[in-house]
């Protein structure tokens, strides 16, 4: 059995979220120390009556500058930890803060109602939309109910069913991605998880209504892509999107999960790298210290992006919308066309949306609406 087969991450039984001490992540230890100092001073002030206001204020400023410094240059592994933070806002938070009048629609009319993907009507700005988003759950009870955001086939089928409903009534689809991956289990295989995801990829590529997908936390492999094919794909600044979890990749390629930091580095899974690789269209800025430190600011960033993007996409005719989406997907990935191309001087990246080196696409491309790049 090939070890490449372990393409999906195992679901962490400890629940979602990265390990933290007193609410601080491993790399945030300097912040923890400052906070402890502040607390100590506050206690001292209370107990002794000494006026330490100035010192406390100074420490608070130090906290802010340290926070800013730490977050201005997160390593890929630190990004993964932030994206998995137990307090990071989830789809259910954005349903409350970004969307109004959410009207949940359950079930795939075939097997059941997968709580790992929530779907329903919602309003954002002046737009009526179909919401589709992974839910990881807030507490242990919810997390168990939605399998920590790892969807079964019925989740993907439910998503597609609601997207078709949206298509019928001309509503754009907004997908929020936040999952470790599709659920690796017996039932998922029995009910054809691979086939459900494959069908979504194909149908989303030709759905005749605008689709916007945003990775809000974890973009885990096929389970993320299953609601990720879109006219515009964006990521929150500290979200990550990867073909495999850093732990899974390390276990396979380095033969030890300990090398997850190296794997996170090598996989180029941060929003900045993926924008550079031309695999996403936009990075949504997060408040200093990550979305979990100021969920409202994160929500307003997301809202602003969605409202603007939906308006832009709605201006396109449906034929041209779908043609452009197809064209966008068609050009994903780069390769050398002939052996003579494999020369170092040619290995510089070409600019956005043309990372492929194909010049003969026109002849191959048959969609009437599509003008080859």
């Amino acid at each position: 059995m090939s070890d490449v087969l372990t393409n999906e991450p195992a679901v962490s039984s400890a629940g979602s979220g990265a390990p933290s001490i007193g609410g601080f992540l491993e790399f945030e230890k300097p912040l923890l120390r400052i906070q402890q100092d502040v607390e100590a001073m506050e206690r001292e002030q209370r107990d002794t009556g000494r006026d330490l206001t100035a010192d406390i204020k100074q420490q608070r400023v130090r906290f802010k500058t340290t926070l800013k410094r730490l977050y201005s240059n997160l390593t890929p592994w630190e990004t993964v930890q932030v994206a998995r933070h137990a307090k990071r806002p989830l789809s259910t938070d954005y349903i409350q803060t970004v969307f109004r009048d959410f009207c949940e629609l359950h079930g795939d009319r075939d097997f059941g109602d997968d709580r790992a993907i929530l779907t329903g009507f919602g309003r954002i700005g002046g737009h009526r939309v179909m919401f589709v988003g992974h839910d990881k759950g807030k507490d242990i009870k919810q997390r168990m109910a939605c399998n920590f955001g790892c969807a079964h086939p019925e989740g993907y089928r439910k998503a597609l069913r609601k997207m078709r409903l949206a298509e019928k009534y001309g509503l754009p689809v907004v997908c929020l991605i936040d999952t470790q991956g599709a659920y690796p289990g017996i039932g998922a295989e029995e009910r054809g998880i691979a086939f459900a995801i494959a069908t979504n990829l194909m149908e989303m590529s030709r759905l005749r209504t605008p689709i916007v997908s945003v990775v809000i936390g974890e973009g885990g492999s096929g389970g993320a892509l299953g609601i990720g094919v879109a006219d515009r794909v964006a990521m929150f600044q500290h979200a990550f999107y990867s073909v495999i979890s850093p732990e899974g990749c390390a276990a396979i390629l380095w033969k030890t999960a300990e090398r997850r930091k190296h794997a996170a580095e090598a996989l180029k899974l941060t929003s900045r790298e993926l924008l550079k690789l031309d695999l996403i269209d936009h990075v949504i800025p997060e408040p200093v210290g990550g979305a979990h430190r100021d969920p409202e600011a994160a929500a307003s960033s997301l809202e602003k992006y969605l409202i603007g993007t939906l308006a832009e996409l709605k201006r396109l005719g449906l034929d041209s919308l779908v043609a452009k989406r197809q064209e966008r997907i068609r050009h994903l990935g780069s390769f050398f066309e002939s052996p003579s191309e494999i020369r170092p001087e040619l290995e510089t990246r070409s600019p956005r949306r043309s990372t492929h080196r194909v010049t003969r696409l026109g002849a191959r491309f048959t969609h009437p609406e599509i003008v080859p790049a």
Binding site: M1, D3, V4, L5, T6, N7, E8, P9, A10, A182, P184, I186, A188, E189, E190, G192, I193, A194, F195, I197, A198, T199, L201, M202, S205, R206, S221, G222, L225, G226, S242, V243, G248, C249, I252, L253, W254, H262, A263, A266, L267, L277, Q326, I329, R330, L332, G333, S334, F335, F336, E337, S338, P339, E347, T355, V358, R364, F365, T366, H367
Partner: protein, 276 residues
């Protein structure tokens, strides 16, 4: 071959020149390699369908000398400049030398029992036929060629999934191939999948899972998540025959299980039924 070895002497499988005796991976019977080759690399004792390389598969499947390859020069750019224990560039060079192929899929035009088809065959011995940008592009070009020439498309799939060394570029190839198949479907093109051992993960969840008709070789492993990952997640043993072609047929995801020797006939029959 004159130097046949007696049955009672165990022979190491590796390093034995072609034409000698080998041990079947499944039933462990000693089998005469030449006889196995003549049986399309199916064990004469137990019917085990061995994995075969793309070139052998093409030879088995198409009318003699009818295969015209295209897109054969596509090569990976190592877009992430990926390095694990060895650099990906080196790994690619090693695999290319080992297999004589540039990447993990071969695509072309061919005839099967006189019917013209566009054919794609994956090569399980090239980094487990994992899908990076080159596999995604070649499969997509095969689909587009099928649209252009109005020919049925036959994909013989075998893959460990997306190629980790190309990161997210590998993942989005799933979308690229699936979108192209949507365009083939739009023009009512016929797409036949022959799922062979192992058809899994990102390939199962994209072009291998989207056939109008999905055929599978007996006992081929077909599934999404790796069995080890599933066992660890649910903390239990997996049922007998889990994620096999037979399991997938029983659960409604495979149309027919077809022995290798019958593939040519079955493919031709389906093409005729669909009037292509």
């Amino acid at each position: 071959m004159a130097d046949e070895k007696p049955l009672d002497k165990p022979v190491e499988k590796t390093g034995v020149p072609a034409g000698l005796w080998t041990r079947c991976d499944r039933c462990e019977h000693m089998v005469y390699e030449k006889e196995v080759a003549e049986a399309l690399y199916v064990c004469p004792e137990c019917g085990h369908h061995r994995r075969v390389d793309a070139r052998i598969r093409i030879q088995q499947l198409v009318d003699p000398d009818t295969f015209e390859e295209f897109a054969q020069d596509l090569r990976s750019t190592d877009p992430l400049d990926f390095k694990d224990r060895i650099p990906y560039k080196e790994r690619l060079a090693l695999e290319q030398e080992k297999t004589g192929e540039t990447d993990a899929v071969v695509v072309g035009k061919a005839f099967i029992r006189g019917r013209a088809v566009i054919l794609g065959v994956m090569n399980p011995s090239f980094i487990m036929a994992s899908m990076g940008a080159v596999v995604g592009e070649k499969v997509t070009r095969a689909i587009e060629r099928a649209i252009e020439d109005n020919l049925p498309l036959v994909m013989v799939t075998a893959s460990g999934g997306a190629r980790m060394q190309e990161g997210m570029i590998s993942l989005v190839q799933m979308a690229k191939t699936a979108a192209a198949l949507g365009r083939l479907d739009d023009v009512k093109g016929l797409y036949i999948v022959v799922a062979t051992d192992p058809t899994t993960a990102g390939v199962a969840a994209s072009f291998a899972g989207l056939g109008d008709v999905i055929l599978a070789e007996p006992k081929a492993m077909i599934g999404f998540a790796g069995p080890r990952v599933i066992a660890n997640t649910i903390n239990a043993e997996l049922p007998e025959g889990f994620q096999t072609a037979e399991f997938m047929l029983q659960h409604g995801f495979v149309d027919r299980i077809v022995a290798r020797a019958d593939l040519r006939r079955e493919i031709a029959r389906i093409i005729d039924y669909c009037g292509k």
